[in-house]
């Protein structure tokens, strides 16, 4: 239980020291903040769910701004492929737990900040105890089950949370579960099916993008603590970094919402993995893919050397083809989005093997083809990366 920390939270406000007054001077002279506002920040607590791409900049700025207590929840370790965007962590931290890495970095930025580490994945069993008592939650998680879990726990506990989510070059931000405002379920009633949204590991993400969105989340968290300005309650901010457009759409509370509506059917936490149907899309691993007929790389190699060589289709993008391809075996590039263009030219009686990077997009392609009568298409299990690992190590993996 975190009741001890709750009590700590409820203790008498602590005033600023002379050193703190100097450290936060540029913020204190803002009329909207002032010494009272800075004291509010010092006595506030913010919990970061996920200290990855979004949680990294959020943690840096919240620590620098003087939030008195920061909680960091993350069950992952720092990986080399994280460092392109997760700026809280550095090269020497590879292999360490993200919460430990976050703790060290925050302490170097601002030793006055108290850091509470939760080196675990948030689950239905630990979420209420973990979230209870914090003033604001920042959701920087990377999968749908955790996003619905954070939402429901925050609604049940009455804690506002700052939402941020990213994909390739685009991001979304809002404030949910604030008094009178909508929640995440009011916007997204259902999670997507497992094959509907590729993960960042599969689709890529611009490293700066979570920097933008995480900083927006930190801004909103500070505004909520200070009670200033117009937080993103009832508004969804849409950021497109390619066009550099910031747009917003209006969100409304759904009176029929199953968790924050007038007659909620969800009054305690549920099984979110089951609810999302395996829709986990962590940055580090691809989501569950559609169940389709497959062929493994050894079998494909054997068939290529026999008289039964199939036609090979690569459903990745042009730039990925340039990294690695099966062109020497007659593979043809056709990005997934253009699959429909060749349906008329395709002979349904020809054996077809489809591949992508790891086998996710190609599974979608096989499923799409099967739905229009091409039942001889096979998905190359593990994609071209698996081919590179087991058949042709001269090919790079990515």
């Amino acid at each position: 239980m975190r009741s001890g920390e709750m009590n700590e939270n409820e203790r008498e406000p602590v005033a600023l020291t002379p050193e703190e007054t100097l450290r936060y001077h540029r913020q204190i002279i803002l009329p909207q903040v002032g010494p009272r506002g800075q004291e509010r920040l010092k006595n506030a607590s913010v919990l970061l769910v996920g200290v990855g791409g979004l949680g990294s900049p959020a943690a840096l700025y919240l620590a620098a701004a003087g939030i008195g207590r920061l909680g960091v929840v993350d069950g992952d370790v720092v990986e080399l492929s994280n460092l392109q965007r997760q700026v809280l962590h550095d090269t020497p931290s590879v292999g360490r737990s993200k919460t430990e890495s976050a703790h060290r970095r925050i302490a170097r930025i601002n030793p006055d900040v108290e850091v509470q580490e939760y080196p675990v994945r948030l689950t239905s069993d630990n979420a209420l105890n973990t979230l209870e008592g914090w003033d604001v939650v920042v959701d920087g998680s990377d999968n749908f089950p955790t996003r619905y879990l954070v939402n429901d726990a925050c609604v049940l506990l009455g804690i506002p949370f700052v939402y941020g989510a990213i994909f390739r070059f685009e991001g979304q931000a809002s404030v949910f579960a604030a008094p009178g405002g909508p929640c995440y379920r009011c916007l997204f009633r259902d999670p997507p099916p497992p094959d509907a949204v590729p993960s960042c590991a599969e689709a890529g993400v611009l490293g700066v993008l979570p920097g933008l969105l995480g900083t927006i989340q930190a801004t909103e968290a500070i505004k909520l603590v200070l009670g200033i300005g117009d937080p993103l309650v009832g508004r969804l901010l849409l950021v497109d970094t390619l066009t550099m457009e910031f747009r917003e759409v209006e969100l409304r509370r759904d009176p029929d919402c199953v968790v924050c509506g007038e007659a909620p059917s969800i009054t305690s936490l549920i099984d979110y993995e089951e609810f999302c149907g395996g829709a986990t899309t962590p940055l580090a691993a691809p989501p569950e893919r559609p169940q389709v007929a497959e062929i493994d790389v050894e079998e494909l190699r054997a068939r290529l050397g026999s008289g039964r060589a199939p036609m090979i289709l690569d459903v990745r993008e042009n730039h990925e083809w340039r990294i690695s391809n099966l062109g020497p075996y007659g593979a043809r590039l056709l990005p997934l989005g253009r699959l429909q263009e060749i349906l008329d030219d395709l002979d349904p009686d020809v054996d077809l093997v489809i591949y992508c990077r790891t086998g996710h997009r190609s599974a979608i392609a096989v499923k799409q083809l099967a739905s229009v009568g091409f039942d001889r298409a096979l998905n190359l299990r593990g994609g071209i990366n698996e081919w590179a690992r087991r058949i042709d190590p001269s090919l790079p993996t990515y």
Binding site: A165, F167, V249, G337
Partner: protein, 95 residues
Amino acid sequence: MSDRGLVTVRVPEPLRDFTGGRGQLHLDAGTVDAVLEQIRRTEPLLAGRLFEDDGSVRGFINVFVDGTEIRHLEAGRREVGPGSVVAIVPSVAGG
């Protein structure tokens, strides 16, 4: 033909695999329903992602017309016109 008199449909990144990479569609339509019908007719791959079998927009996708979600548009206010922007907003989980 100029796009100026058309409705712009913004297609977000996660769904551009189903429009051949296009981020915008320009449609000549007078109502929200006509916009959705044109998407069904001319962009079957995208439509397969947007709609349930019964034709409704799927629960993890929202469609906003000039900033308002179409489920909140009153029956008499479902017109769109030249310059209207229809934004498709799917749930994404990246963090």
